[in-house]
């Protein structure tokens, strides 16, 4: 424990004093999210979207410039109205419609419905904040940032230590490989949490994004996810001595992971094999679970399968990483 703490303390001092790397770790994700918020601030809907449950047997459905989307699950569709993902939800069979009182598009489509002259439907007012692309993006970008910090932070530092002989010097002491690696993991986890909290608070102040779930659950998901990704970084760095090779390998893993984990766009409806690969990536589970918590208010049980997947990955990576680790 004493040895673990000694290495942890030294590593923490190292990254706090490495101002350039630390500021980059904070500025990059914040700037990235601000950029996206700016890009998508004008909205992206040129059509009105109306959900339809049941038959299209109402004159309203003749209206032009409205996209009518059949819905199967009425409950889920109502949530979409709350989130502004649907402007209006109509169920002619039940003589009802749902509209979000805070949505301007909802108001317009409601007026069109009333003016269409069909059977009068009963209004159900719902409320809820709009889910913007940026709200959807936030969990993804936070997760992606954790991934880069985990893979490049841990992997690179260990390869650099190995290359310049720091590891060799430590090997001459009673320090064990496990103690050394645990200190690296824990130190990086603290850094990731620290940076993520600052980025989260900073972005929330400016963008005021949605958070429907519990902060404890979100923290848990991000922590376990970070651990899984740090362990992956450790595994990559377990033997490499060349930082060029480490850079290449880390890029080869991190970039496909960024694209295949649904950070930027949803992978729903992608081919089976892509979904399969995607599910093998720790970042997918971090993003899916945190998105479910932040956007849908999911509880810990709802994201239990993601947590289990991340824990299994963490244990496998850790086991292999410690087993394969070489001081030189």
């Amino acid at each position: 424990m004493k040895r673990f703490l000694a290495i942890l303390h030294a590593r923490n001092l190292e990254f706090i004093r490495d101002r350039a790397a630390l500021s980059w770790g904070l500025i990059f994700p914040t700037a990235l999210m601000m950029g996206f918020a700016l890009l998508f601030s004008n909205g992206d809907q040129e059509l009105y979207k109306v959900g339809v449950a049941g038959e299209l047997n109402h004159p309203f459905f003749q209206s032009r410039h409205i996209k009518f989307i059949p819905v199967e699950d009425l409950e889920k569709a109502v949530i979409k109205v709350e989130r502004h993902q649907l402007d209006l939800l109509v169920a002619p069979d039940k003589l009802r419609y749902w509209v979000n009182s805070s949505s301007p598009a909802g108001y317009i489509t409601e007026q069109l419905l009333k003016a269409s002259g069909g059977e009068m439907l009963k209004a159900n007012k719902v409320s809820g904040k709009e889910i913007r692309y940026i709200d959807w993006l936030i969990p993804g970008v936070l997760g992606m940032n954790m991934m880069f910090s985990a893979l490049f932070g841990v992997g690179f530092v260990i390869v650099r230590y190995r290359k310049n002989g720091v590891l060799k010097r430590l090997r001459g002491t009673p320090l064990s490989a496990t103690e050394f690696l645990m200190a690296q993991i824990f130190s990086r986890l603290l850094l990731i949490i620290f940076v993520s909290v600052i980025v989260y608070i900073g972005c929330d102040l400016i963008l005021d994004f949605s958070m429907y779930g519990s902060y404890v659950n979100l923290f848990l998901v991000f922590t376990i996810g970070s651990l899984a990704m740090i362990s992956l970084g450790l595994l990559i760095a377990s033997r490499l001595k060349s930082d060029e090779l480490a850079a290449g390998l880390t890029n080869a893993i991190s970039i496909p992971m960024m694209l295949l984990s649904g950070v930027w766009f949803s992978l729903e409806g992608s081919p089976q094999w892509i979904m399969f690969i995607s599910n093998l990536l720790p970042l997918t589970h971090v993003v899916d679970a945190s998105r479910a918590i932040m956007l849908d208010g999911a509880g810990i049980i709802d994201v239990g399968h993601h947590i289990a997947a991340m824990l299994i990955m963490m244990l496998v990576f850790l086991f292999l990483g410690v087993k394969m680790f070489r001081w030189e």
């Binding site: 703490l5 002989g165 320090l175």
Partner: protein, 308 residues
């Protein structure tokens, strides 16, 4: 004297190359054990196997009669030839880091004083001069109050002041009864500090013993040197002739060679040689007489061709 470290027919191969070839020796407790040899002789590989850093291809290293383990780790101190330390840490923080890696550490204040680190304690590791850096690395090697300390070429690249200062530090360590294993390229250093030396070449030990004993074994002659310009060609010719004659004489032997503007006469009987030179009417104002030193021995044993 009891041996603290025992090296038994150690070999290390790197692919086809043999770096260390069946090397055996024992190191006694409290002695300063020197390892000499040209670059690429296998010194560092041997030391790193003794330190438990490199695995030998075959052979064993025993510390206090047991294979290297956690006991050895906590009781040994190491100063590598090339060491990098964690970045962004000060000297003080680095010492604390290493102190934290051992169950017991020596008194830091005392160690700082002993290694003269006071003046740069709060400087970044990366901003130290060569001498300061070596002193800090030595302090790290001593941080656990080791019973055995490995110093791999600790004074390479230091200026004469820093080197002499470092020698004093090593003598101080030795005075505490600590065993020191020292590899060096400086024969003067080995002669000054070591109780016993080995000279390695091509992965093997080619000489072993106390420096004085080794010199006695290999050189019974003294060197008499005279500037070349004090001697005429006739003198040299005569000396060479004399040399042949004298060699047949059982009284003493001498050999002669010219080098760097000097004529060197290696003789077993200085009196006879002097007598001869005086008789020949040679001016002896600039004459030098010296004993053979470790450098002569080293060059004689390892040859003079340039190494890697």
């Amino acid at each position: 004297m009891t041996s603290i470290l025992e090296v038994n027919s150690l070999s290390k191969n790197y692919q086809a190359a043999i770096a260390v070839d069946k090397v055996s020796f024992q190191i006694n407790k409290g002695q300063c054990f020197g390892m000499l040899g040209p670059n690429g002789a296998g010194k560092t590989t041997t030391i790193e196997i003794m330190e438990g850093i490199t695995e030998p291809t075959s052979g064993t290293v025993l510390y206090k009669g047991k294979p290297l383990g956690q006991l050895f780790r906590t009781q040994c101190g190491i100063q590598f030839q090339h060491t990098s330390l964690q970045e962004f840490l000060t000297v003080r923080e680095t010492l604390k880091l290493f102190a934290g890696l051992y169950p017991e550490s020596s008194n830091l204040a005392e160690l700082i004083k002993r290694c003269n680190l006071e003046s740069f304690l709060d400087s970044d590791n990366r901003k130290l001069s060569g001498g300061q850096r070596q002193r800090m690395l030595l302090a790290i090697a001593l941080i656990n109050n080791p019973e055995i300390v490995f110093l791999d070429e600790p004074t390479t690249g230091l200026d004469p002041q820093a080197r002499h200062n470092f020698w004093d530090l090593i003598k101080n360590i030795l005075s505490h009864g600590t065993t020191v294993i020292l590899s060096t390229h400086y024969m003067e250093e080995a002669a000054e500090l070591c109780d016993e030396i080995i000279i390695m070449d091509h992965g093997r030990i080619i000489a072993q013993g106390a420096p004085a004993d080794l010199l006695q074994q290999h050189f019974s002659e003294r060197l008499v040197r005279i500037p070349e310009n004090e001697l005429s060609t006739a003198h040299i010719k005569e000396l060479k002739k004399q040399h042949t004659n004298l060699n047949q004489d059982t009284l003493f032997q001498h050999s002669l060679y010219q080098k760097d503007g000097w004529v060197e006469i290696s003789t077993t009987d200085v009196n006879q040689t002097m007598k001869y030179l005086l008789n020949a009417g040679i001016d002896l104002s600039f004459l030098q007489i010296r004993q053979h030193n470790l450098e002569d021995l080293f060059l004689e044993l390892t040859g003079k061709e340039l190494r890697q």
